[in-house]
């Protein structure tokens, strides 16, 4: 029987909560248990085993030969390559991928979902009032869950951040907080709330407008019942010491989310800072998706949808989309978990050479030119990942990596640089 070892303070990227208090028990080279128990955490870590293959056109290859081929393919697509920042790699690997994109004058797409992108664009139009998860935990005496129940996709938000834990300004924990659940169509708020509001999807933005008006102290006329209820809830927010409006920034169950939801939530949170204090807590998916946006921003000024085609970063949010970009690309480099990409992407990308460097690259369901398996950020690879609130977290991998994504990308970068230097002469 294999000896058991424990690794403490491990960071989980199974969702955007970025819990870094996990204890992993290893039995030999496998993960035997994950605690505290969390279904997404268990799924994220699994037993820790990943493939470590290197493939070229479907055949086993040496890493050197695979990277030389990848460098050739990508260099030949100079000016019309695509780099996709897929999930599950560290910020250091994302940074190396962006160095490649810059060198190749490539287009960059991230795994940012459409609703999340809408939120980023809305925040660029008007700014945002937000708080880190620690502030929500320690200060929020009123929590408004807007069309989201975090229990399914962010299982520990409730117990680790709010409303359950005691905080510096909320020593009673849940008993010291008011929880308000807002349901919009199929997107339900959490059970067990102190107050509730149910809206049809077409009532959502009007309700947010009414609530903002209340926060601004505007006089309101007679309102239909759901909006009157929304106004009453806004009154509670105004009286809060510190309210947190928690919303799902990723796709929900309701198929046609109102495109103005993000703007409405941002406006409401900003307005509440007149009479009170308020922050918007945007729930984002895991796998270091936030890290891709953060690194892209420090390197280009833009959080997503960038092309280096002209020789300097340009923003193209109106035509963003990994599948559309793949259709225009001469070659594609996927950095991260390719399994996160849609069939539409593969169908568009499959016409040209695709290089995949990341966890389980060799298990990519579509044929690719080069596949290099690496470890998973936080399981086999260290570095930094970003939580949903853009806080950087240390990754403390419980298992060793046979091949780290950042090292593979750095080697590929060197090979592409050599070709670029030759081209420049």
């Amino acid at each position: 029987m294999s000896p058991t070892t424990r690794v403490q303070s491990v960071t989980c990227l199974g969702c955007g909560c970025g819990c870094d208090d996990l204890v992993i028990e290893l039995a030999g080279d496998r993960i035997a248990s994950v605690s505290p128990p969390c279904p997404l955490g268990r799924a994220w870590f699994g037993d820790g085993r990943v493939p470590w293959a290197v493939r070229r056109s479907g055949e086993d290859s040496t890493l050197e030969a695979a990277l030389a081929d990848a460098a050739d393919v990508l260099s030949q697509a100079f000016g019309h390559a695509l780099v996709v920042l897929a999930p599950d790699v560290s910020a250091q690997a994302q940074r190396a991928a962006l160095a490649l994109a810059d060198l190749l004058h490539a287009t960059v797409e991230t795994a940012t979902s459409d609703p999340a992108a809408a939120g980023l664009l809305a925040a660029q139009r008007r700014g945002r009032t937000a708080a880190t998860l620690g502030e929500v935990r320690n200060r929020a005496d009123v929590l408004l869950f807007w069309a989201v129940d975090p229990s399914a996709r962010y299982p520990r938000y409730w117990s680790r951040y709010a409303p359950d834990p005691a905080g510096t300004h909320v020593p009673e924990g849940r008993a010291g907080r008011t929880v308000i659940a807002v349901t919009v169509g199929q997107d339900r708020g959490p059970a067990g709330a102190d107050r509730e509001l149910a809206l049809n999807p077409d009532q959502e933005v009007p309700a947010l407008s009414v609530m903002r008006a209340v926060a601004l102290g505007n006089r309101l006329g007679e309102l239909p019942p759901p909006l009157q209820r929304a106004a009453e809830i806004a009154g509670h927010l105004v009286k809060a010491r510190y309210s947190a409006i928690v919303h799902e920034a990723e796709p929900g169950a309701e198929p046609g989310r109102d495109p103005y939801r993000a703007e409405g939530l941002l406006g409401l949170a900003q307005a509440l800072n007149g009479p009170s204090r308020a922050a918007l807590s945007s729930l984002r998916a895991g796998g270091n998706r936030s890290g891709a946006e953060v690194a892209l921003t420090w390197l280009t000024g833009y959080p997503m949808a960038v092309t280096y085609r002209s020789g300097a970063p340009e923003y193209r949010p109106a035509s963003r989309g990994v599948a559309a970009a793949a259709g225009e690309a001469g070659a594609t480099l996927v950095v991260g978990a390719a399994s996160a990409l849609s069939d539409v992407f593969w169908s568009a990308a499959g016409r040209t050479p695709v290089v995949v460097i990341g966890p389980r690259a060799s298990e990519t369901r579509s044929p690719v030119r080069v596949a290099v398996d690496t470890g998973v950020a936080g399981i086999h690879e260290g570095g930094t990942a970003y939580r949903m609130d853009d806080m950087p977290l240390r990754l403390r991998p419980p298992l060793p990596a046979e091949r780290a994504a950042v090292d593979v990308l750095t080697a590929l970068l060197a090979a592409v640089r050599t070709r670029a230097a030759a081209r420049a002469k």
Binding site: G127, R160, R241, A279, T300, G301, E314, M391
Partner: protein
């Protein structure tokens, strides 16, 4: 061509005030990245005859490598689109450079290249939330050409406030030391002491240094005293770096002077003093209080300041002083970002334009110039625009021109809104013109000395071979915006005004000692209130060795 290990810079007019050299034609010799006394005959030479030679510039206070800056970058896609920055073409054999974007908050590589193009070789990010230090170091990794470091925000930190409340000032000092080590920080930073914590509660802000913070037994005065004493007791190379309460408020000079008096007799650095030197308030119109504030600074050698000059044009206000940004948002109607950060500090961001015809902008511009022109000791009153708050670091040459050339200053004075300038020293006519040596002091020698950087800001034997060489030009703004040569650690990085090399910068950080008895209590605090594990909090694997304490 690779950078020569040896180089003799021949015959330039050397301005090296730290070594008492004021424009003498001299040779400067470089070997293995350092200044040396002499070189053998036949060493490579660089002809600098007729040119002006200074140490590389040292920026004591800017915002360019932080999570807050990244939030600001995200807020201005319009500015980035208007200022694309293709990768500069470096010398043959050099690694390919990186592209980026500019605007008031450029991307990281572009920031490094532009600092180098300006002749600056060292810069500090002046406000980093401890929890985000890991991010700042990532940005610094991607900011080439400048040696850099971070100042760590502590003036509203929950654990620190608790120690002050409990009278545990020794533990507060140990915590400051632990935090500097954990974050790879260089200096202790205070922003609006207690005011940011008040912003997060119903109190919203403090208005005097003796206000209680959110009903607790803590005042801004106590925070100032505790952290000033801590930085001095720890013998940090740079004293506590203070952004006073009431930034940008009419009549705030009383608060500024009270803050200085609170730490009288102790080394302390007061930052962007321009934003804290206003008269008026209480029903009276805004006015300049620069003379009153500078009288105090001139008379107290333990005090140093950077000015935080406002320059007309686009700017980006980024500060941990979140309540100020709320007021700015309400008054300007511009985009507003606020991020409350983890029981540590805050972050507020509002894009802004300073206009000649706006009365308050004109007053701010005048107050900054007055501070410079009334200063009796350039070693203690050094240059900053609080980049990008008062203007970009790219505006430094224009500011230098204003300081060196009264006629340029007077011409601009004729154009600005005079409404609030009655009684200001500038409007009354300040004839002083800075000399080249004084410029060398306020942009290099002074900041380096205030930062305790023994090998920066001068060209004596043993100094880092960071050298900027300017061609003389009657237009001083042109002269200072386009150095002919810039040398970093002995390598020519700017030649004939073009960036040719872009070496990685070194990290400047400290590692003061502390009493381990702090740790059990601190760990308990983390376990109760933090969302980051105590063991994961410190930033590991930082490059380079810490700078030794004074």
């Amino acid at each position: 061509m690779t950078a020569p290990a040896r180089l003799r810079i021949v015959g330039g007019a050397v301005h090296d005030p730290a070594n008492g050299i004021d424009g003498e034609a001299r040779d400067i010799c470089i070997e293995d990245g350092c200044i040396v006394a002499d070189l053998p005959a036949g060493a490579p030479t660089l002809d600098a005859r007729g040119m002006v030679v200074m140490p590389g510039g040292v920026d004591i206070h800017a915002h360019f490598a932080s999570s807050s800056c990244n939030h600001a970058r995200r807020l201005i896609p319009d500015e980035h689109a208007a200022d694309p920055a293709p990768a500069p073409r470096l010398a043959d054999g050099e690694p390919l450079a990186r592209s980026g974007t500019g605007g008031s908050v450029p991307s990281t590589f572009t920031t490094g290249y532009r600092y180098a193009g300006l002749g600056y070789t060292t810069a500090f990010d002046a406000a980093v939330a401890p929890l985000t230090a890991r991010h700042s170091h990532s940005e610094l990794d991607d900011t080439p050409c400048v040696d850099g470091g971070i100042f760590v925000l502590m003036g509203n930190d929950e654990y620190l406030l608790r120690q002050i409340e409990a009278g545990e000032r020794d533990r507060a000092r140990d915590y400051a030391a632990w935090l500097l080590r954990a974050t790879g920080g260089y200096a202790v930073k205070i922003v609006n002491p207690g005011g940011v914590e008040a912003w997060k509660t119903g109190q919203r802000n403090v208005s005097t240094i003796d206000d209680q913070v959110s009903g607790r037994a803590v005042t801004p005065r106590a925070i100032l005293e505790t952290l000033t004493d801590a930085a001095n007791a720890l013998r940090l190379p740079h004293p506590v770096h203070i952004h006073c309460n009431n930034l940008g408020v009419a009549g705030n000079s009383d608060t500024t002077l009270a803050s200085m008096q609170a730490v009288a007799g102790r080394r302390a650095h007061f930052t962007h003093l321009q934003f804290h030197s206003y008269g008026g308030g209480g029903g009276q119109p805004w006015s300049s209080a620069a003379a009153k504030v500078m009288d105090y600074v001139n008379a107290h050698p333990e005090v140093s300041v950077d000015v935080g000059q406002v320059m007309f044009g686009s700017a980006m206000t980024i500060t941990a002083d979140a309540p100020v940004e709320y007021l700015l948002y309400k008054s300007s109607g511009r985009r507003w970002t606020n991020i409350d950060i983890e029981l540590e500090t805050g972050c507020g961001i509002v894009p802004l334009t300073y206009k000649e015809k706006a009365a308050v902008s004109a007053l701010q511009w005048a107050v900054g110039l007055e501070l410079f022109l009334l200063s009796q000791d350039p070693w203690r009153v050094v240059l900053s625009t609080d980049h990008p708050n008062g203007g970009s670091f790219l505006a430094y040459p224009a500011l230098i021109q204003l300081l060196m050339d009264r006629s340029v200053r007077d011409e601009q004075l004729k154009r600005v809104n005079p409404k609030l300038l009655a009684g200001s020293a500038l409007a009354d006519g300040l004839a002083r013109e800075y000399t080249l040596n004084e410029i060398a002091i306020i942009t290099r020698a002074g900041p380096a000395r205030l930062l305790g950087l023994r090998t920066k800001g001068h060209l004596g034997v043993g100094a880092d071979a960071d050298v900027t060489i300017y061609s003389r030009d009657a237009d001083l703004a042109t002269m200072f915006s386009t150095p002919r040569y810039v040398i970093k650690d002995g390598a020519l990085i700017v030649e004939e005004g073009h960036l040719r090399r872009a070496p990685a910068g070194r990290r400047l950080r400290v590692a003061p000692g502390y009493d381990d008895a702090l740790l059990p209590d601190l760990r308990r605090h983390f376990e109760r209130y933090s969302t980051v594990a105590f063991d994961n909090y410190p930033v590991a694997d930082l490059p380079g060795e810490p700078v030794t304490t004074a």
